[in-house]
Amino acid sequence: MSRWLFIRNKASRSLFTVIFVIVLNFFLFRVLPGDPARQGIRDPRLTQEAIDAIRVRFGLDKPVINCFQTINPLRFGNCDVNPLDTQFFIYVKNLLRGDLGTSFYYNRPVSEILGERLWNTVLLIGGGQILSIIVGVGFGVLAAWKARTPIDYGTLITGLVAWSLPTFWLGIILLFWGSNNGFPIGGKATPGMSSYPIFTQLMDIGWHLILPTLTYTIVFMGEYMLIMRSSLLDVLSEDYILTAKAKGLSTFQILKDHALKNGMLPLVTIIAINLGFTVGGVIQIESVFSWPGLGGALYEAVSRRDFPILQGGFLLIAISVILANFIADLMYSYLDPRVQTE
């Protein structure tokens, strides 16, 4: 089997998973008790007529799917209803056109809202991931190279401590220290920057990014450090490394030509998985630093039963994870010739 076939098989499997997620997403949130037309608010000014009118505006008066009026509570409806006029098929039809719907809460297109928030989260994770990879891998390699020396033990302890630090706590410590020393207290940008030149605006955003990125880096570099170190130590204990040493190669050459390539493999998987999941999962950092990211948007949407945002957001996360895994599989097939493309 050629590489092309390999890619095609992986791709179709990923696509199938995405379709499954789309269907699951739709029904999953409708199982939650509660009425999205109220958005979690109890207000005696809200009359039954108003709730009904809002429900019509959200398209919630249509049956969920043929024969079922609602999923929770399970209420049977009309099986003669036009299947294309049910909530599920309208959702799928719009999705195929690229329309993620309109948020019940913000009354704005979901793609706009999620787009902004996703970009903010990517900004935060992007810098953090790159830094944590560089620092984590670097120190991990160093630790494995100088195994059983104080450098190794020091790095191991640092990595363990960093990885076990609660993200929220670390964020608050850094924020309180930082705000007493000139750093901004949160947010993405200083209000009022839009009238300034682009360069100043970017500097301002960068200024706001420093502390959240630092928090992210410290926590994740711990993980990468530990994994790199243990993976490399494993590799360095293999027989062919002994052979290389016997041949007279320096430790640096051994690392460069033989060990690193094999040691990198677990790290590639972890990085791919992290990138996929943290798209929706840095809510702790976003919360501490008032960073308007995707995690916060989804958390709020749950308590408001804002179905369109939840469906769109979870689809986004699912696609990120699936895509990240797909890319990881691909990279594996290039890095590791043992991976069967036959």
Binding site: G34, P44, A50, Y106, N107, T190, D204, P292
Partner: protein, 548 residues
Amino acid sequence: MKQKALSILMLTAIVLSACGNLGGGQPAIVRIGWASGPDSLNIGVAWLASAYTISELTYSSMYEFNLDGTLTLDLGTEEKMSDDGLTYTYKIREGVKFHDGQPLTAKDVAFTYNLIMAHEDFPTLHSYVDHFVSVEAPDDTTVVLTLDQQVPNIASKLVFLYILPEHIWKDHSEGEAAAAFENLDMIGSGPFKILEYKPNEFIRLGANKDYYGSVPKVDEVIFQVFSSPDVLIQALKTGQVDMINSVPNTSVESLKSTENVKVVTGSPLSPDLEDIVFNMVDPTNCPTAEGGLCTGHPALRDKQVRLAMAYATDKQKIIDIVKLGLATSGIALIPSGTGEWFNTDVKDFAYDPAKGNQLLDEAGYKDADGDGIRDMPDGSRPLTFRLNWPSSDSEAPRIAELLSEMWKQLGISLEMQAVESDALTAKCCPTLDYDIMIWGWVADPDPNTLLIIPTTEQIPTGYNETGYSNPRYDELYAQQGAEMDKSKRIQMVWEMQQIIHDDVPYIIPYYPLNVQAYRTDRFTGWLDGETKLALEDPSSLTVIEPVK
């Protein structure tokens, strides 16, 4: 110290480029920190209090709030009511302009009121136009409003009907277009106008120099969102904001001892209350057609039991521990912050657990099996009640613990469980599948919105969370809704509070005080000594000026 140097470098760079652009004269910018921004700039669909805060600043309406609780004419200059109370004729100010320079006339007022009347899907605004039949503008400064019944305190409804510009909204007035309109420019006629809006981040308002009332002395007001209350406090302490409009009680002491910060308390503009809710629905009133299950513990239907629990509830202790003293003791569903509507004659039950025990003994609730928990008179069930609260309520868990201790003295035990708020609504209203809940309500300045809650007709809709049904109360509710004589109406409202207090469908532990804080070294003139405390209201924001 490298960080300090770095921050100085960055700030210098920013300031230098700022000077390059502004060319002299630093603008006076007030920065306010809050926990969540408006959900929408379209006041038709917005729910949150923060949306109303912004609307108070950017729009005008016929009346405005005063900090002593009264309403006075704002956009209107004259109000004439017909003898039968069904027609109101208003004269409005001349020469008022919208933020885009277009004139505001009576036609915009009529357009706005008609728009709201036509839109049942405006969740909160539509309820204020309930009895409006027609609104007309015979000329540019006259508005004629016709009702289908007498409406007392019409000012309290008109105050929330912010005047929208017809020339902008007319293209978004039909059907779903009105709710879909984002209204990002929020063109109004208020003392401030929108400069920049980033949802969930900040909103920048600039002073409206052509405002017909008192023109703000500051140039800009920025409301910035901070996701965590600790961060809000730190922002105030480090001077990155000048005022925060809601201080968590736990931070009050630490803020009080911070230099250049003043902490102030007062009655909220929209008073709220925390309540302990009993499921006492009579089985004959159970709304089975709407999904009512009515699984409440039968003992709670007995007024003696609820009365005993009221005597065993130490409200002052709850206030001291949960609110750190920053609340006033509760009576009935109308908070003390509503001013003259609050019944000051009601004598609340004293904290007297012995009396509570005596009441339960007399009613026959003895401990049949000797396990320390009283049982029903026929011995069928112990007095073990489920106690639920919404998981978003941060004070309820502590209240629940205190109640558990206090009611244990009566031989009552509780099964406590926090439930996600929407799930709790699905459980309680109108399903009535609970025993006791801890929740709360927010009041309007006019008591009408909260008084409807314990009426019989609200059992099937779910707002009557207790299932309380009293024909006398229902009668009074209908009467006060049409009583034009204010002192007569106050008497009715007072009687309704006495009834609710005596029948104990609720125990109201407290009405929270509003706690706000500001920096004294930045702006001066904050109105912090009035009956109501609302530093984010135009009353303060139009009069404060930079400290010299």
